[in-house]
């Protein structure tokens, strides 16, 4: 009797397991499979990038165009999660199975070069071509892609920050000609006139507030790096003034007030939720990619773009820039194919063809030859607000993160320094001196470990 019961129970268990296995099989067949290779006879070029959603479609299209443009290589694009992208790449190189090429946008080049992760790209082209490219590239593309006199990243889309503003709001504030004031001080004054508060003095509409500390320093001077001497510059009168300007702006509104206001709006939204579209900002500082998003999500919105005005005695056409750049890791199985793809997308050899690719993602070009190509000029005609960004590109006053091997540590601490001053927890002098001390400690630590810098 007991045996019968046990057998019956075992049978039921097996039946349940069988049903579960069947359901699992059905689900596994229903799930999307990795795409089969379209050109199995060609040499594969594995390409990792971190774009998702609408951007992924653009990148897939570019890979597809490359594959159709020649018959030797097949670029296989793989979108990896941005949050773990760097870790995945580092482990892939360490494990001996890296991609052939990767698109990055974080300031990783100095650290990765010093760790022996990247191949110098200038050595992949004839010296004459490298000399030409070096001279043709926009200054900021050189700053982003070069480290220790070698090219490690070719930008396929620069990201630059400038002002977006609503002419209606300016007119309402008594600005007759829809133009931003000529100095940063006047812009702050205008912004203050455009701020709005509720009955409890809570901020409900922001006139103007610049981006973070790192983004603001180029308006006042070199920022945190002197490109002439190749040295970090932390506690300088220019950086102190930049920090004081930011701190004053936040203190005027109240840091907590601004923080609460910004927590209630989706500042990083890549859609119609962007506060400039929803009317929470009159003037804001953001990247060129917003132009296309505005066309998509708010086609009837009247807006203009302009470079941030320099402070009195500051630098004109100054801003902060980042970039989407292509890197080829050491240990890549097909560096030649990877380099062909980099050239195709960046436009090093065929700027006119590449110009169209840049317009697909709303990216800023690597060099003037691409800007001057008919496809890009047509794009600028379609989106006149985009021209502001393109016109700024030749400026030497556009800065990026300092090219030191501890860039990420540095930018983390710069952010904390700005935070301390803007919250009023420390004076600007104390915060900047604190930053200088932290960086000196990090440099001393690295020296003790035997690092060159």
């Amino acid at each position: 009797m007991a045996i019968d019961q046990t057998s019956a129970r075992a049978g039921r268990t097996l039946l349940v397991l069988g049903i579960l296995a069947f359901v699992g099989l059905v689900i596994s067949f229903a799930l999307p499979k990795p795409a089969e290779r379209l050109y199995p006879e060609r040499i594969p070029v594995r390409f990792w990038h971190m774009w998702t959603a609408e951007w992924k479609a653009v990148v897939d299209d570019i890979a597809d165009r490359f594959n159709k443009s020649q018959d030797k290589y097949e670029v296989i694009a793989l979108s990896i999660p941005p949050s773990g992208g760097e870790t995945k790449f580092v482990l892939a190189v360490a494990g001996g199975d890296p991609p052939d090429v990767m698109a990055q946008w974080n300031p990783v080049i100095p650290s990765w070069v010093d760790s022996g992760l990247l191949q110098p790209l200038d050595e992949m082209m004839p010296p004459a071509q490298w000399r030409q490219l070096h001279s043709d590239m926009y200054p900021i593309a050189r700053k982003i892609g070069m480290y220790k006199d070698h090219l490690y990243g070719v930008t396929v889309g620069l990201d630059l920050w400038a002002c977006y503003y609503r002419p209606d709001d300016l007119r309402a504030a008594g600005v007759p000609d829809d133009r931003l004031p000529p100095t940063l001080e006047e812009l702050f004054a205008l912004g203050a006139r455009l701020d709005r508060f509720d009955d409890h003095k809570n901020l409900t509409h922001l006139g103007f507030l610049p981006e973070g500390y790192l983004h603001t320093t180029p308006l006042f001077g070199n920022g945190f790096y002197d490109w002439e001497s190749g040295k970090l510059t932390i506690y300088t009168p220019d950086n102190l003034r930049a920090l004081q300007t930011l701190a004053d702006a936040y203190q005027r509104l109240g840091f907590d007030n601004v923080s609460r206001f910004q927590a209630g709006i989706d500042q990083s939204s890549f859609s119609a939720g962007w506060p400039f579209i929803s009317g929470h900002y009159s003037i804001c500082v953001d990247g060129q990619w917003r132009v296309e998003q505005l066309a998509q999500y708010a086609p009837n919105l009247q807006y203009k773009t302009a470079p941030l005005p320099a402070p009195t005695g500051g630098r004109p056409l100054a801003s902060f820039a980042g970039g989407n750049f292509m890197i080829i890791p050491k240990g890549a199985r097909c560096p030649a194919g990877a380099w062909e793809f980099v050239k195709f997308w960046s436009g090093i050899e065929n700027p006119e063809r590449a110009a169209e690719l840049y317009t697909k993602g709303g990216w800023l070009p690597l060099m003037p030859a691409i800007t001057n190509a008919p496809a890009y000029q047509a794009y600028l005609k379609k989106y006149p607000q985009f021209k502001t960004f393109v016109d700024m590109l030749p400026s030497e006053n556009i800065q990026t993160t300092p090219p030191v091997p501890y860039t990420i540590y540095l930018t983390d601490r710069v952010s904390v320094c700005g935070d301390l001053a803007m919250r009023g927890l420390q004076t600007c002098e104390e915060a900047l001196r604190g930053l200088e001390k932290e960086i000196a400690q990090e440099q001393a630590r690295r020296k003790e470990f035997g690092y060159a810098d």
């Binding site: 949050s83 022996g116 927590a263 209630g264 904390v416 301390l420 003790e448 470990f449």
Partner: protein, 332 residues
């Protein structure tokens, strides 16, 4: 009838878990007798058992034990994951202890978290278990409701809390606003960011609550009967029966809670968007370690940090174990 039987079966299971927990530290006492009974036939039988669990054993050796040992060596090296480690002696430890202010800041924040969050979690867990031990209608539903949050993935919970604690559009401040109270800037201010994470930790208290409940179910009712005959009121019964009899379970949760508090990472990482929070106020030790290892590619330094943490956790855990004779009662 059927449901009553099911309820009894459920209670028996809880009691069984409680008995198991109460006996946790005792098996070591029986090791000698165990060895005496061990013979060759057992050996062969056990080898078969080991063969069956060998996939786990191999996995443990390859992915846990060996890296664990190698990390001792790495902590004395300069190592960036990609190139060969370079021996630097005790530089990592010396720098950490003498020249890294963030190390001490992160250590202080983590100790503060352990000192506040663990006792708070124990108090809340016990209080909830006492409430959910009441024999009232629908108690199984209440138990389920309070337990459910603990099985929701931490990342999902963190994302939900980003909204709940939003100072402008969040649920908590919305409720406070309805009674004319301006709620704090929970995650955006230095004063409240840490507190928010501590309070958020209570969301998962259902996990320990169910263990306390199992412990409560295991307390013999005869003790309460005897106490009531002697005239003990509710407070006396709680003070002299319930809490002492629950101490083995509290001991277990204390050890587990302290260990997980020292490793606190995911919630802070997700909520603060991988930053150290306002004025580094949520720079937990594990977050600092993660940054050093994977963002700054300083794996040797991070290994040294991991070993300091290991020694600290071991010291605290052993101290708790040493103290348990004074305050943990096994009912015998």
């Amino acid at each position: 009838m059927g449901s009553a039987l099911q309820t009894n079966a459920g209670l028996d299971t809880l009691k069984g878990v409680g008995s198991l927990l109460k006996r946790l530290p005792t098996p070591l006492c029986h090791l000698d007798g165990y060895r005496a009974r061990y013979d060759d036939a057992d050996m062969k039988r056990h080898l078969v058992g080991y063969a069956f669990i060998s996939p786990w054993l191999i996995g443990f050796a390859v992915f846990t034990a060996v890296p664990f040992v190698i990390s001792i060596y790495l902590s004395f090296t300069r190592y960036n994951v990609v190139t060969e480690p370079v021996w630097v002696g005790a530089v990592n430890y010396r720098t950490l202890l003498a020249h890294d202010p963030l190390f001490w800041k992160a250590m202080g924040i983590t100790l503060k978290y352990a000192a506040i969050a663990v006792p708070l979690g124990i108090f809340t867990g016990v209080a909830l278990a006492l409430l959910l031990n009441l024999e009232i209608r629908g108690i199984a539903i209440y138990r389920t409701i309070f337990y459910l949050p603990s099985i929701v993935p931490v990342v999902a919970t963190s994302v939900v809390f980003l909204w709940i604690l939003n100072p402008q559009i969040g649920l908590v401040n919305g409720i406070l606003r309805s009674v004319d109270i301006i709620g704090p800037n929970w995650l955006g201010s230095e004063d409240w960011a840490f507190t928010s994470l501590v309070l958020m930790g209570l969301w998962g208290v259902g996990g320990s609550m169910i263990i306390y409940l199992a412990g409560l179910k295991d307390i013999p009712y005869t003790l309460y009967e005897a106490a009531m005959i002697d005239g003990a009121n509710a407070w006396h019964r709680m003070r002299h029966i319930t809490l002492p009899m629950l101490t083995p379970v509290i001991f277990f949760n204390l050890v587990m809670g302290v260990i997980s508090a020292f490793q606190y990472f995911t919630q802070a990482y997700v909520i603060m968007d991988a930053t150290s929070g306002p004025n580094d106020s949520t720079l937990f030790y594990a977050l600092h370690l993660f940054n050093r290892a994977w963002r700054y590619l300083d794996m040797g330094y991070a290994s040294a940090m991991a070993w300091i943490l290991f020694v600290l956790v071991m010291t605290v855990t052993l101290t708790i174990f040493r103290s348990h004779r004074r305050w943990v009662h096994y009912g015998n």
